[in-house]
Symmetry: C2
Amino acid sequence: MAIDHLDGRIIVLLAREPRIGVLEMSRRLGVARGTVQARLDRLQSNGVIRGFGPEVDPAAIGYPVTAFATLQIRQGQGPDVRAHLATVPEVLELHTTTGSGDMLCRLVARSNADLQRVIDRVVGFEGIVRASTAIVMENAVPLRIIPLVEQAASEGAEARPRLG
Amino acid sequence: MAIDHLDGRIIVLLAREPRIGVLEMSRRLGVARGTVQARLDRLQSNGVIRGFGPEVDPAAIGYPVTAFATLQIRQGQGPDVRAHLATVPEVLELHTTTGSGDMLCRLVARSNADLQRVIDRVVGFEGIVRASTAIVMENAVPLRIIPLVEQAASEGAEARPRLG
DNA sequence: GTACCGCTGAACAGATTGTCCAGCGGAAAA
DNA sequence: TTTTCCGCTGGACAATCTGTTCAGCGGTAC
């Protein structure tokens, strides 16, 4: 699956002004409304656009502290640890990474003190051997996708891509 | 800023069915449309809901490999490194963390081989002393916010919160 | 007791959506 | 070379939703 220039412009425009409608997009992009609508449908069914869920700021709902924890997992305990961490609301994200039995998870907490509680809950599970935590001081580059989309779009076909 | 139960239900509903409209939400939640509209406006102006940007799957546009890199930064080079990394499209996220001169960044690449190119570009900067990379094998828990919202909502006022 | 404030239920015009359609034109296939 | 395919265009339609405003109700705070 690749995206072409128009797809890229649609995604970027949508990222910059999410409340925009299909009609307004077609006006801005200089193409027919049906085209934008068809492209959007395709992007979604292709899985390029997963959804339009609201981006909630953890800090704004009382969880201003973010941290990343590297977990060392006991052999074969991966699935159990995963299930355990999935039950902790403060675990926003969890990845299994290279390195024998390592995981990386993103945590949030109400305060630095509260982070201790969260970590205790996270590591309070037999399958976890060791945990090392790094507290985020500044989010220098917030999660972004636009630059990558632009790069992917410029490398794709100029127009009228072969569809999957 | 705290959110109450209704705020939580609005966010959760929105997260599950993003294409839903204000009118349909008011029907599902059993409240007046004006109420939902006012709540949403407030949630957005309070920064609780940052936006509704499209969630783009890097894998779907040709970047199936994700990795996390821990960077050790030379004293005082933080701002320069940040600016440097901001120019790399494959850097999706960058955090400054505790530990003298440490940063954590999320990378994507077209393949494991391509990851080498990305890393070379990332570390090819004088301010970076050392980099250690962990390749993501499985995204056990995709970035989520609903459990946290539900927790925050249940701890908040039952209804009619004091507004900021 | 009074003022404040959020919620309700309603109304309105305006805009947008989903969904059709026929026609055009480039590219691939025959 | 000719035919077929397919995306894009520009238009149309009814149905729906949006933004906005209004008066009234009922708690809570002062």
